[in-house]
């Protein structure tokens, strides 16, 4: 909790100071563990000047019950895989789920931005002392930009979009 102001400041810095043309980032970069999260990937530009033709995101362990949002003009596909820790949802144990989402077949020119949306639930045991990364591969025709740098370096060239997690607040029910 002590680190929250620092994280907030960093997040504000990242969100505000970095211009829209710089990185692929999540619209909301804060979440609580144990709650559902609407992940909005903002693709602000192409690979260099090239138009984006596909976006793939990897769902790491700890984000469960994932559903992508359909998108007109794009083909949405998911890859399912087993969870290391089964996830309890509405009374049933989920042992496997979506581990990768890809939107393909569309074209997003460099002059335009778009958002790719999916949602899921953070597990209650996910550590909150480090950012939670969603590695994204942005494909533009034959080239690709791999936003997969999870090292946390301030000068990383292609950092993965990340979320700062905080412990769950007391609540009276779960949200949808």
């Amino acid at each position: 909790m002590k680190k929250l102001p620092l994280f907030l400041a960093t997040a504000a810095l990242l969100a505000g100071a970095v211009p829209a043309q710089a990185h692929i980032v999540l619209q909301n970069q804060e979440a609580q563990i144990g709650t559902t999260f609407r992940a909005v990937l903002v693709v602000g530009h192409g690979c260099g000047d090239a138009a984006t033709t596909a976006v793939r995101v990897q769902i790491p362990e700890g984000f469960y019950n994932v559903r992508p949002m359909l998108k007109a003009g794009w083909t949405v596909e998911t890859v399912r895989g087993p969870y290391e820790t089964p996830f309890e949802s509405h009374g049933s144990m989920l042992e496997e789920g979506v581990k990768e989402i890809s939107w393909s077949g569309g074209e997003l020119p460099n002059d335009f931005f778009d958002e790719f949306v999916f949602r899921g639930t953070f597990g209650a045991d996910v550590p909150t002392d480090q950012p939670f990364y969603f590695p994204v591969i942005q494909t533009c025709g034959d080239t690709e930009d791999a936003w997969i740098d999870t090292s946390g370096d301030a000068d990383a060239e292609f950092p993965a979009p990340s979320v700062t997690l905080s412990p769950a607040e007391a609540s009276d029910g779960h949200h949808h």
Binding site: P135, A146, I148, D149, T150, S151, D153, E157
Partner: protein, 530 residues
Amino acid sequence: MRGLARAIVTTLLMLAGILPTLAHATLTGSSPPDGAVLDAAPPALVLSFNEPVSPLTATLIRPGEGSGEPVDLVATGAELRLPFNAGLDDGTYVVSWRAVSEDGHPIAGTSVFSIGEPVAESELELTLPSHPEVAPLLWVSRLVLYVGLFFGVGGAAFRILSPVLPRRARRLAVAASLAGTAAAVLVIGLQGLDALGMGVAGLVEGQVWSTGLSTVYGRTSLLAHCAFVAALLALLLRHELVLKLVGGAGLVLIGLAVSTSGHASAAEPQWLMRSALFMHIVCIAWWVGALYPLVLLLRLERRIATPPLLYFSAAIPYAIVPLVASGVVLAVVQLGWPGPAWVSGYGVILAAKLTLLVVLFSIASWNRWVLTAPAAAGELKALRHMRRGIVAELVLVAFILALVAGWRFTPPPRALAATERPAGVELALEAKNLSAKLAINPDRVGSTDVLVTLSTANGEPVSPRSVRLLFAPAGVDLAPLSRTAEADAVGVWRAEDMVLPLSGPWIVEVEVRVSDFELVKLAGEVTISP
């Protein structure tokens, strides 16, 4: 005279004992690099050198075996290729190889690589036994060979000037030629020993002799043999025209023999170096060969002595000018512009030789310009001075020959430049479950090649999607130099011609895209010298 001769011989033998042998071509890189862990069997081991080499032998030690099996070596330009015919199984392999540089000096090395997981290496006998007795023997034999060539064949060539050869001069020339012949034969065997790294006991094996013949020194010995045959014929025949022709042929053969091997003949441009060396040697042989006969002739009657003396005096400038000119060409090409090369071992010997040459030329000029006329006229004092002068020339020539033979043991500066430059630096980086070995060569300002070998922490091979290198100077606000490495056939990642513009500490980062979504970053520091 005898005491002096003994002193000269002793000095030469002492020099033979202390001068070390140094190899001349150097290994600049290998693929797969030493210590690599590969995921597939390489089709061959390719060794790159700084100059063309001739293959000698190579041994492959398979994992778990103590002794090796012979492997073929194929040379293309400045590369040696050891093809592995049958597919290799997993394990650690050791390749021990031997090759000969262009100037005849043998070089050797060992390469280790692993396929799959490196097996704990067994205790291998990798140190080659040393045979220190071969080098001095080789040096002495070559010295006798040179003495035989210059005094024997050169002496025989004197008959071109004067068919009358004093008996003692003829006996010396014949003795020198015979000694030279024996030395030429011995040199072939000793050269074979040197090439194969065996001791004197190996002289009984046929392989040693055939190897010796196959080196450039073998060709030199064979040509020297022909020169000696020509010399003996010239010394023993009586028909004037024939012996002059044969004597001349002997001179030509000396030039060919010496210009076939040695440093100068291996330098570029070869056509210039070999012809300069040929000219140099032929002029020396003709001049030196004439000295002893002249000394003796000067004791004889004026009627007999004068014509050859006058011919010699008239002809010697035609030998001296090409001699000096070719010597200058050779020195310039070998040493280059004034700089560090001039103080190398090679340069020091050259300086000593030049000093002696200055003295030699002064004495020779004095003989030629001042003493010849009065000596031809028969003045006793002039005759005596001239004889002494020629003896002094002989002594100086002997010292110069000893110095020149010492060049056998100093690598030419161009090879020194290749060895003094360090063979790059190696970095071992680890992060998560990945281990990277970088070879940065050369680790100096300018264009650099970087080779990256990747494996898991346990030594298993990895096949990443891509590898990117980032170089940033530490503490300086410069954007990092980034280069995407390319994988070669055996899984070694290369980034060639990266230009590092500053000296000092550099931070090196290797970004390995292990899989589509996983990136592992390894970082380390390297110091780049100016």
